[in-house]
Symmetry: D2
Amino acid sequence: MTHNIAILGASGYTGAELVRLIATHPTMRIAALSADRKAGMEMAEVYPHLRHLDLPRLVTIEEIDFAGIDLVFCALPHATSQAVIKELPRDIKVVDLSADFRLRDPAEYQKWYGQPHAAPDLQKEAVYGLTEFYRDEIRGARLVAGTGCNAATGQFALRPLIAAGVVDLDDIIVDLKAAASGAGRSLKEHLLFSELFENVMGYALGGTHRHLGEFDQEFSKIAGRKVEIQFTPHLIPATRGILVTAYVKGEADAVHGALAKAYAEETFIEVLPMGKAPSMKDVRGSNFCHIGVAADRRPGRAIVVATLDNLTKGSSGQAVQNANLMLGEPETAGLMGAPVFP
Amino acid sequence: MTHNIAILGASGYTGAELVRLIATHPTMRIAALSADRKAGMEMAEVYPHLRHLDLPRLVTIEEIDFAGIDLVFCALPHATSQAVIKELPRDIKVVDLSADFRLRDPAEYQKWYGQPHAAPDLQKEAVYGLTEFYRDEIRGARLVAGTGCNAATGQFALRPLIAAGVVDLDDIIVDLKAAASGAGRSLKEHLLFSELFENVMGYALGGTHRHLGEFDQEFSKIAGRKVEIQFTPHLIPATRGILVTAYVKGEADAVHGALAKAYAEETFIEVLPMGKAPSMKDVRGSNFCHIGVAADRRPGRAIVVATLDNLTKGSSGQAVQNANLMLGEPETAGLMGAPVFP
Amino acid sequence: MTHNIAILGASGYTGAELVRLIATHPTMRIAALSADRKAGMEMAEVYPHLRHLDLPRLVTIEEIDFAGIDLVFCALPHATSQAVIKELPRDIKVVDLSADFRLRDPAEYQKWYGQPHAAPDLQKEAVYGLTEFYRDEIRGARLVAGTGCNAATGQFALRPLIAAGVVDLDDIIVDLKAAASGAGRSLKEHLLFSELFENVMGYALGGTHRHLGEFDQEFSKIAGRKVEIQFTPHLIPATRGILVTAYVKGEADAVHGALAKAYAEETFIEVLPMGKAPSMKDVRGSNFCHIGVAADRRPGRAIVVATLDNLTKGSSGQAVQNANLMLGEPETAGLMGAPVFP
Amino acid sequence: MTHNIAILGASGYTGAELVRLIATHPTMRIAALSADRKAGMEMAEVYPHLRHLDLPRLVTIEEIDFAGIDLVFCALPHATSQAVIKELPRDIKVVDLSADFRLRDPAEYQKWYGQPHAAPDLQKEAVYGLTEFYRDEIRGARLVAGTGCNAATGQFALRPLIAAGVVDLDDIIVDLKAAASGAGRSLKEHLLFSELFENVMGYALGGTHRHLGEFDQEFSKIAGRKVEIQFTPHLIPATRGILVTAYVKGEADAVHGALAKAYAEETFIEVLPMGKAPSMKDVRGSNFCHIGVAADRRPGRAIVVATLDNLTKGSSGQAVQNANLMLGEPETAGLMGAPVFP
């Protein structure tokens, strides 16, 4: 059975990545692509790497006939996303890649995103899209909110530790290294090649990054109490990839054991042998996530390193994984491509 | 029907790329992997990006039981390759990725590779593996010689022009830009990150690059007379990709027409609209090749730009494409993955 | 004796490079910095790498008191440059880094830049700033027009060959590889890190690049007849550097000899031993230019490779070199910093 | 007065960087260069970027006549360094760039470097070369031990905080990002361009990096009690630069104040305004170090970010700075070159 798919906001990097993944998906078929400012153009003009595909022309959202659409991937900016999804027919399944439906609490949304939520009812209904932890809810959901790419990486490293109670909840530090594509195809000076090449810089220092809203919500929920981690992202000179180094207080063996157990049956999460450090490039272009653990020289301290591709497992791959569940397909359909190394 | 595959020399980049491609191939199954110096190791230790796959342990060639093997990919260095292939059972199909069987003439082999050929009979039997131009011979071949990655790129740009007689055969200049992975996983100073990063350099200046042997052989054969092009490769700070800029004397429209006609039915070769320049990144990680043509301001001169991924279309993807034909499978099986951009 | 310097357009890359070079110049002192849109800001806010310097605040051009200024570096966009320079007091020396005064012929300016020249008198008076070839005129000039960075590289490779009559004037092909900073600090999609990283692309194919105006003017002047070369620039994934590969018809020994003779006494131009290829990174961050020559396998053909740093020898370093001459200082003052490798 | 300088181990990156810096030093003159395996070669063959300089040919150490030498920079590997320095004439000043004389305690040396020290007397005599903190001892020293590049970066971030008592000594975490040149010009697989490009990886996880010996020694000495920090280095895809993100428990204002006060008079250390994050590229190719501080959202926690160029301020620039003091020259002589950006 073929599922007709529409991608809203197809001219961004996550939109292009969705097309790339769906191109070899056994049962999904791209029926519509929207891109407001580029409506009327061929996708091959916007992304020449997709020119071998037979794709529909880019249109405005208004031009799409949603009658035959089974599922919509919404890759629009936050705030826009909620306005658009609110208007979609209720019988269409939606995977949203923006930040709009990640936070359960309207007050938290307003705090981190600086404006009131325009669709609080949908916000309530939405399921958080971290597949490995919300699989059952996602299967039955109409609206799934893809996680933030940074938030996903940190959660893969830490959720099992919080759940198993093997780390001090008041002293978790996450130092994150993020490649440039996470910032999208946006014209900003610090994203220019000449600026970022041979450069590394911290940003959103001191706990101001919006993905903290997700960390707070999820970690507190698991722990049954308020958990606030310390989190500093850094921009690194690479295109794809996030690598998280998490500093926790706990026994490394217990930490490694909790991760190994949590992910034992997971196709996409690979826990490396104790002491092994994952490399960002080893997951590039794929839906896999590698996690490693090491004991510090000081007893009672451990380091957890997790890495994934922000455009795949961190957003569009995760979105397809969720859509597979929502459509009754095998969860891994179209997602088993091996990482592209070197 | 499943085909059992052995990869000899699996610890190099082309070996790893073969594993990556075969991992999602519908009918190939990796039955054996050899790597002499790393025999005994798991592939996941040598290439952690493949750790999610259930692969046989690396062994020596001698340890492989070839009884159940249908096809061998030989990714060994030249000279070694001919010695190994000579000893393989005659009923096994072989795709060789080395330079050993590309040249028909033993004297030419000796000229370019500095030693006599050790298996001249096999050399005679081998079919040149540029699929789009040797498709019929490849289908019935036992031994196919994969083309050089540089030689493939130049030929995609130039063969149709020589065949159609639309360019001056005595004045073809090929300026080639090659990414680092073409040199393999070899420990050489100029391949160190600190040396190549932010660097560009010509090498094998003046017509000493070995792939010239292939150009000479193929272009002369098409033209029915001796054709010697001028060819200068450059190493550029990228991992994957080759981009050829060919300077020819001929009418740009005729040049574009000859290319468009030659590749009209080809799945993997995309001829861009007149005047459009292809980008190396638009084919990365894929089996596609993009070609563009522009007229020079001086009448009677044209520029042809062709680009492909050296590890995929330039070697391992091409090898799988050939193997598909040899095994009676659809030529594109396992090769339709879209390029990874950005 | 200290010379008071004003830099107009200090917020671009060439402006910042001028500040970097002048920072350790023995006799230049930065007295004023202009940047219209960033007027009022400290240079350290715009370029934090210069924060250790005691620099004047950025102002508008109108705010500068030119009374005490000895020399102006004008690093404004073309068209703007001519309008500004026209209004400067006649007793101030000017080194212009834009394209506005490079072409002698108003018709040529209009052809390549698409609009009539607004200061044709100044255009006539300006001296072309390729120091090694216009040294005497520059010494006495009031207005010097810095060459284009691509044009400079090509000319260093080719001028002595044309002057010595050792190459066929009708068959010169220049394949150029240019790093991203040549395009300036401008917000364009193809200059984003995620787009250019791991990418190579030709642009201005077919002889439409504006620096051809300079090549035509200079080469025709040397030859005493019309000379039109074929020229294709490529954007490469690096920040600084240009590498030119020139294909010429002539004897390699004569070619090498002409270059070696022309540059024998030049401090900044290094001609490598016959057959040696220069590397782009070997001149990075410096005012040096390396040139190599090789014979092709086909008699009567040679390859010339030249490389320089587009921001230093290609623009701001060249500008300081010219200013040194104009101010009666040693030509190499402030410019002997060795390349930054690796 | 001119000082005659010998560089032992001139064929490594720190050796080449010493030559680069001394090339424009007002009073140092390179009198001898050694490189055992490359003895007999010209420096321009080993490092073509230095070919404009008139340098002595590379020789073995035994071939050097130390009679006229005033100061030796020893850029040899650890263990070799102590053997060589032991044999140098006692009247020659020595700046060692290896790890051999950094640790005061022979037992600590053996613990971190795996073998007993061969020159324990010299070890006692050596002065630790972190100029800003050992200025007076360095002035009078015969033997100065350059700090490790990672150790230097971490200490610039943390020493003033420990000295001022504004952070919890038991909970300091240093997450470090290091560019590839810190590993030298050594042929290792993970340092190949194809491996490191688009990659990030932690290494020496869990407190096994040798620079911890320096941290422990220095921080404990300042605090007057045992201080053991947690330290994880990461390799990043860049050539030059180290960026440290230090997580401390303390009031951000007090932290910023302690740094601002400690470095108020320092030429090479720039403390950014509160909340500003430094960028690695802003110090590239220079002897400057930028430091920033931000408060975390959780009270009582702060983040300190420090960055420098590992080859300049982290080793060869620091070495020249120390040599200046030892020779009675201005501390900043030859070191005021501005960072190379972009």
